[in-house]
């Protein structure tokens, strides 16, 4: 019990003194996950809009696949990216394995289905409501997409936050393709896994606390954004 209490105390002091290791690891986590989120949005938002508005063969299948991929285990994605990026794999020549870039790629694959699926739902709902009015006005396709993204901004932001939550909290993919190399690819989740197995609970707890605070902040932000949107715009 004493050891545990000790670990908690050390964890707090690590956070309060902004311990160099802790800051570096948390920084890399944020860096990797935010970059992945940005790239995933650039793919996922247009994909979601397309699925919401266009009718083409295979659309239903794509929607179902994307929905299924939302629950894809990160370890499996990690394995897939590992195979693709490994020396003997198709993209082996780039030498990306065990680098932050590889981790970003894996997380992009994890986050795209979330952003695409959730944004499709948001856009489809808006489109159902707007499309007659838009046809009546003769709104062009480009203006339509922009209008739907803007009018769905609060719900879309919630989708973004869900994607970020998934990226920042997953262990499996970044562990496999990153390799948890100190000062290079060690992020919060992989560091926690390692420190716990080493029996060094203090750093693990400290990072764990940071992670919990981040997820809490993310979901709180999601809630507030939605609340604000509803109150202000009846969105």
């Amino acid at each position: 019990m004493d050891a545990l209490l000790d670990a908690v105390m050390t964890a707090f002091s690590l956070i309060l003194t902004m311990d160099a290791d802790l800051v570096e690891i948390a920084g890399l986590s944020l860096n990797v996950s935010l970059t992945a989120l940005l790239i995933a949005s650039l793919i996922g938002l247009p994909l979601g809009s397309l699925l919401a508005m266009a009718r083409f063969p295979g659309r239903r299948v794509l929607i179902i696949v994307l929905n299924a991929l939302m629950g894809m285990p990160p370890v499996v994605i990690g394995l897939l990216v590992y195979i693709l990026l490994s020396r003997s794999g198709p993209f082996g020549v780039f030498g990306l394995l065990f680098s932050p870039t590889a981790m970003i790629i894996a997380q992009v694959l994890l986050v795209v289905p979330i952003i695409a699926s959730l944004s499709r739902q948001v856009m489809e709902e808006l489109w159902r409501e707007y499309h007659e009015q838009f046809r009546s006005l003769g709104v062009g396709p480009w203006r339509t997409v922009r209008a739907l993204i803007w009018d769905g901004r609060f719900s879309l932001l919630t989708a973004e936050l869900a994607g970020f939550g998934r990226a920042i909290a997953e262990v499996g993919a970044v562990m496999i393709v990153g390799g948890n190399i100190d000062h290079v690819t060690r992020v919060m989740t992989t560091a926690i896994a390692l420190e716990v197995s080493k029996g060094d609970l203090a750093l693990a707890l400290g990072l764990g606390l940071v992670l919990i605070l981040l997820s809490l902040a993310t979901s709180l932000a999601g809630y507030l954004v939605k609340e604000f949107g509803e109150r202000r715009y009846g969105a």
């Binding site: 007659e132 046809r135 003769g138 009018d151 715009y233």
Partner: protein, 266 residues
């Protein structure tokens, strides 16, 4: 801001002619063989019981639906100009998640109205509909009456030659209905042609120059309002005016009507 008179931009897309227009969903024929002509500057009220095909007729005219048979022909042949010459107000107003003013500005931008003119027209449309006070409020938190007026303001800002209105007062109280009728008369006075469906016979009497009576997808009578309300030729229309037109069983033969011989409702 001066109370300048409304001016519609006349583009000469009218008259609009429907020739043997039918519409069907699945194997149900919902609009049957409608032939009629709409002239510039008139106020047309489309009346008839539920399911008569009034709303479908409006959508067919406006181009939101394609007829299964027959033709919808405008005088103007340039399709883009035909679209630009029309606007529609829907029964349930579609309010974008923006302020009242931005809702109007969006419609103008969609029709490629220049920015400077956009602002002027937005202000004018808000003023004319009495919404200046709520210009910056989000459209979706406005009252139903205000939302419907905003819908009309948005359509009116486009200066359409023809304005379609699908039951614009369906869920409004009498004062709100009155303010919208007043507005519609102003818009009509500016030269815009109104084609509107309504359930409210009183409203049809107040607004109509011409009446289209529909029943089960067919246009049963099309005549001047005065003549129509003095005594329609069609017996279904007579029954409808008396409030005696009942929905009766579907039979294979021509529309059958069940009328009751009860005293007129006063």
């Amino acid at each position: 801001m001066t109370d300048q008179p409304l001016t519609a931009v006349s583009r000469g897309i009218l008259p609009l002619e429907l020739r043997n227009v039918s519409y069907q969903a699945g194997d149900k024929r919902l609009v049957k063989d409608v032939t009629c002509q709409f002239q510039a500057g008139h106020r047309y009220m489309v009346i008839g019981p539920n399911g008569a095909g009034k709303t479908l007729l409006l959508r067919l005219c406006h181009g939101l639906l394609k007829p299964a048979a027959g033709q919808v022909r405008w005088q103007e042949k340039d399709k883009r100009r035909v679209i630009k010459g029309q606007a529609m107000v829907f029964q349930r107003s579609v309010m974008m998640r923006r302020s009242a003013a931005e809702n109007i500005a969006f419609a103008l931008a969609a029709r490629n109205v220049a920015k400077a003119e956009r602002r002027e027209r937005v202000e004018q449309a808000l003023f004319q509909t009495g919404l200046t006070r709520v210009a910056d409020r989000p459209a979706r938190v406005l009252s139903l009456g205000e939302q419907q007026r905003l819908s009309i303001a948005r359509a009116w800002a486009l200066r359409p030659e023809v304005l379609f209105l699908d039951e614009p007062c369906a869920s409004l109280d009498p004062p709100a209905t009155h303010s919208i009728e007043k507005l519609l008369m102003e818009i009509s006075a500016a030269g815009t042609t109104l084609i509107m469906t309504t359930h409210d016979l009183g409203q049809a009497r107040r607004l109509a120059q011409d009446v289209l009576f529909m029943f089960r997808g067919r246009l049963k009578e099309f005549s001047e309002a005065e003549r129509f309300f003095a005594g329609p030729e069609n017996d279904l229309a007579q029954a409808y005016l008396k409030g005696d037109l009942l929905w009766w069983k579907r039979r294979p033969e021509e529309d059958c009507v069940q009328t009751q011989n009860k005293p007129n409702r006063t």
